[in-house]
């Protein structure tokens, strides 16, 4: 069990590239923290700094209130599960799991007991004699986890452990990790790029982009009150719908106008808007597909022409085009429709929808921040894909090769 604190942690490489800017986070004992974000957002780098595999450029990391910046990984009493499992290929499963214990000179009767226990928990007791090559992906992953839990570490680090598994196995292993967590009360820090994993596993989620923290919160907080456009678009499938709408004051509150339909802004947002010094004239309205109410009879609401319908089994995903050309995604639960409505839905080419007012989110179009969240972080600008400096092309259109300098 351990408390982990990161204070203004920054990671900059020799060539000037900053992978992590000013990362601060307080992790409670036995908390399950998920670091999530797209590739290159700095989540793995942060994890590796906590593990001691990367040097910290500036800032402090402490475990149980002791600063560990300069401590060897093995002294930090942590365990890590790698994306590629990192199993020692020439040792048996038993030896792989026992490796760390043997290094610490634990008496071998104790090792035997602990290994068997871990194998029992993970259901790999019959595999103890095999070599990694003879195991399937899921089995290898369990061995990797076994190797970590047998050490009874203070902090349990996991670096995208499910990325190499197929979809079905991934769902299965997700459930097992939740079960595992119930059996072992330790602090977990988990890195993934999959937002479903983040939502199902984490007590709290840290969303990152380009080395910055976008938001820290519980899954529910992130889902209902995303701090900026990036978080709003990242969390939840299908993705939230965004509309560019004018914001106008009306009486005590505010109103947004979407395609000639007026919707009232909820009170809690109005309160926040009032606190602001200046308000933008146009805002980005964010509404999740399930919060766009479809009128099955086809009369009320904003009209849109259906372009694509995806039959998901119990629900229908409708991709439709509004009158102003904007695409919108809608979700309709089929069970909620009467047979007649179902038929009409599937056959017609138009759909009418309206906004569920209390679920709307308003974002500042300039920096993407949620206007109702006081300390929201702006979305960093997208950098163009990195090209080596000064690529030039000759007449035929082939790039002229320049000697690359080693970093």
């Amino acid at each position: 069990m351990a408390v982990v604190n990161l204070k203004n942690v920054k990671k900059q490489y020799e060539n000037g590239f900053v992978a992590v800017h000013d990362f601060s986070l307080d992790i409670d004992d036995e908390e399950f923290i998920v670091l999530v974000g797209p590739s290159g957002c700095g989540k793995s780098t942060t994890l590796r700094m906590i593990a001691g595999l990367e040097d910290i450029t500036s800032g402090e990391i402490s475990i149980n209130l002791k600063v560990v910046n300069d401590m060897e990984p093995k002294d930090r009493d942590i365990a890590m599960v790698f994306q590629n499992y990192a199993l020692y290929p020439h040792m048996s499963v038993y030896e792989n799991i026992a490796f760390g214990l043997r290094l610490r000179k634990v008496p071998h009767k104790e090792i035997h007991k602990r290994v068997l226990e871990a194998a029992e928990i993970l259901g790999i007791t019959e595999l103890l004699g095999r070599k990694p090559k003879q195991l399937s992906g899921g089995q290898r992953q369990r061995v990797a986890i076994g190797r970590a839990i047998v050490r009874v570490p203070k902090v349990f680090l996991m670096d995208e452990p499910l990325s190499n598994l197929d979809a079905k196995l991934r769902n299965q292993m997700r459930a097992e990790i939740i079960l595992l967590r119930q059996k072992i009360r330790t602090t977990f820090i988990y890195v993934t790029h999959d937002q479903t994993e983040a939502m199902t596993l984490g007590d709290r989620i840290v969303i990152m982009k380009d080395g910055y923290i976008m938001q820290v919160g519980t899954p529910q907080e992130l889902f209902n009150h995303p701090a900026n456009l990036f978080v709003a678009g990242f969390i939840g499938t299908p993705q939230m719908n965004f509309f560019d709408v004018p914001l106008t004051k009306e009486g005590d509150g505010y109103v947004v106008t979407l395609l000639q339909h007026k919707y009232h802004v909820p009170k809690y947002i109005c309160d926040e808007l009032d606190k602001k010094e200046s308000l933008p004239e146009r805002v980005t309205l964010g509404v999740r597909p399930e919060n766009l109410i479809v009128d099955p009879s086809g009369y009320d609401g904003i009209r849109a022409t259906i372009r694509v319908t995806e039959m998901m089994g119990s629900e229908l995903h409708i991709h439709a085009e509004c009158d102003d050309g904007k695409m919108v995604i809608l979700r309709v639960q089929i069970a909620d429709l009467s047979d007649a409505d179902q038929k009409r839905m599937i056959d017609s080419s138009e759909v009418m929808f309206s906004v569920r007012e209390r679920t709307m989110n308003l974002f500042d179009p300039k920096d993407g921040r949620n206007l109702a969240v006081p300390d929201a972080v702006p979305v960093p600008e997208d950098k163009p894909a990195a090209l080596p400096d000064d690529i030039q092309f000759d007449e035929k259109g082939k790039p002229i090769k320049k000697k690359k300098k080693k970093a």
Binding site: E72, A86, H90, F99, G129, P132
Partner: protein, 504 residues
């Protein structure tokens, strides 16, 4: 010793586990050996059966063949003419004619001479002026040489003859089925296609047969003669002596008359020690340096590697000869050490027996480490980095990481190279000869051998200086046997002791 249950086995500490494996290995060994020995008659029998079938095949081809095929047994190419394979027919016929001509004119006489290797070497008669006229008659060397060549020509011809009747038979069967046999033009074209290997391999193989196979065969025969300085053609003859040379070389008699055997044993032991130490010292030290250079955070990697690689670039004879002079009694190293008053007398780096052996191994490090460094660097870069990271988190020190991750990986990938390196070192002529010439020479040894001589350098001296060809041949054969046995043993042990598939 009985096998433990899996869980019990795994529960043992590593040391006990290894002992257990070794115990099981040895207890099963007699059983395995016996099983292997039992297989030998089985394999021999299988071989005999195959030979039998081969001859039966020829018999069938004759019996089943039509008149054309039967005639082709005698006149090669006969059948081909009538089956529209004129090109092939002509080639076969020419070859038969040339062979018959050769055998009649030369071949038979050489073969005959092989049994005695000549009866009279020279006749010295007096001509009418009373001066001695020397007439050269039988030359043992020539007889042996030409005899061997003839044997190979006969073998070659027999093989061609077999091809001839086989082709005939196949063509006959094809014609019976109504298919037209391949024409000559087709043959030429297929030489560029499915039969490309024949085109590609024919010249190299010819070269190998001429300049490797025949010489080796020839030398093996020499080992059974008494060809040395006292039996030098064309003045003298040499003849067959059976296994006598081997007896001389391998006798266990310690008395003076078998100094040869004593020398042989001593040199053999030193050769083995040399090969082992040289190979493994280079291997591990080269690996160590490669790891150092490759470590994260070390700059100038390329510079260090280039400096070391330079020693490979400079021709060995230059560097080795130079270093040998540097360490000579009058050499620069001794001079500098004396000047700096580290020593008072010269150190016989290369002239004292034990010190010379050590120096030779050390200088070999200087020569050999760059190669190993290159090879190991390539492999090092391929080991997945997260294995090391995981070990670091588990608490493995640098040494533990080396023994548990780097070393097993290295051994797996470079295992075959180690073996070839070992056998190459057994025959490492340059390093020893150029450094010491085999010195310090000692009277204990026969045949002018010295304390740092390897079998191969001794072989060289016996040939060039002593003209003792017969003993040289014997040594060559024995070296081959040593190398072959070691290679066989290691190849057969490796799947049992190492687990190759783990790393795929």
């Amino acid at each position: 010793m009985k096998q433990l249950s899996e869980l019990d086995y795994l529960g043992l500490p590593p040391a006990k586990r290894r002992l257990h494996s070794i115990g099981i290995f040895f207890s099963e060994l007699p059983g395995k050996l016996w099983g292997g020995i039992k297989k030998i008659p089985q394999k021999l029998w299988g071989l005999l059966c195959r030979l039998g079938r081969f001859f039966k095949g020829i018999g069938t081809m004759f019996a089943d063949g039509d008149i054309l095929t039967k005639l082709s047994f005698v006149i090669m190419g006969f059948g081909q003419f009538f089956r529209r394979q004129i090109g092939r027919g002509i080639i076969f016929l020419i070859m038969e004619a040339v062979f018959i001509y050769y055998m009649i004119c030369f071949g038979f006489s050489y073969l005959a001479g092989m049994t005695t290797l000549g009866t009279e070497a020279v006749t010295k008669t007096l001509n009418k002026y009373g001066l001695e006229v020397v007439e050269y008659k039988d030359n043992s060397l020539q007889i042996l040489l030409y005899g061997v060549l003839t044997i190979f020509i006969v073998i070659g011809f027999l093989w061609t003859w077999y091809l001839n009747i086989k082709q005939n038979y196949t063509a006959q069967k094809l014609v019976e089925e109504g298919v037209r046999p391949k024409s000559f033009k087709n043959d030429i074209k297929s030489l560029g296609d499915e039969q490309l290997y024949k085109t590609l391999l024919s010249v190299p193989l010819l070269g190998i047969v001429l300049f490797t196979v025949i010489p080796i065969f020839f030398m093996i025969l020499i080992a059974f003669t008494n060809y040395d300085y006292s039996h030098l053609p064309p003045e003298q003859l040499f003849g067959w002596v059976g296994f006598e040379n081997f007896r001389t070389m391998l006798s266990t008699d310690i008395s003076g008359s078998s100094k040869f055997a004593f020398t042989f044993r001593e040199i053999l032991v030193w050769t083995m020690i040399w090969a082992l130490v040289a190979t493994f010292s280079n291997y591990f030290l080269g690996m160590f340096i490669a790891i150092c250079i490759n470590k994260k955070g070390i700059k100038f990697k390329k510079v260090f590697r280039t400096i070391l690689v330079m020693t490979i670039a400079v021709p060995q004879f230059v560097s080795l000869l130079l270093v040998s002079r540097m360490f000579a009694d009058e050499g620069i190293i001794n001079s500098v050490l004396q000047k700096l008053s580290f020593i008072t007398d010269k150190i016989g780096f290369l002239s004292t027996p034990t010190l010379a052996k050590i120096m030779v191994l050390v200088i070999n490090l200087w020569v050999g480490i760059p190669y190993l460094m290159l090879i190991t660097t390539g492999v090092l870069m391929n080991i997945p980095a997260d294995l090391y990271e995981s070990a670091k988190i588990d608490g493995a020190s640098g040494i533990k990481q080396f023994t548990k991750i780097t070393l097993p990986y290295m051994l797996f990938v470079t295992g075959p190279y180690l073996l070839t390196s070992f056998t190459a070192n057994i025959n490492n002529f340059n390093v020893i000869y150029l450094l010491t010439g085999g010195a310090p020479k000692t009277m204990e040894y026969d045949g002018g051998a010295g304390k740092t001589d390897l079998l191969i350098t001794w072989l060289y001296n016996l040939t060039i200086t002593d003209n003792d060809y017969k003993m040289a041949a014997v040594i060559g054969i024995l070296v081959f046997l040593v190398v072959a046995i070691i290679s066989l043993v290691i190849y057969n042990l490796s799947p049992a002791m190492k687990n190759e598939e783990d790393f795929q």
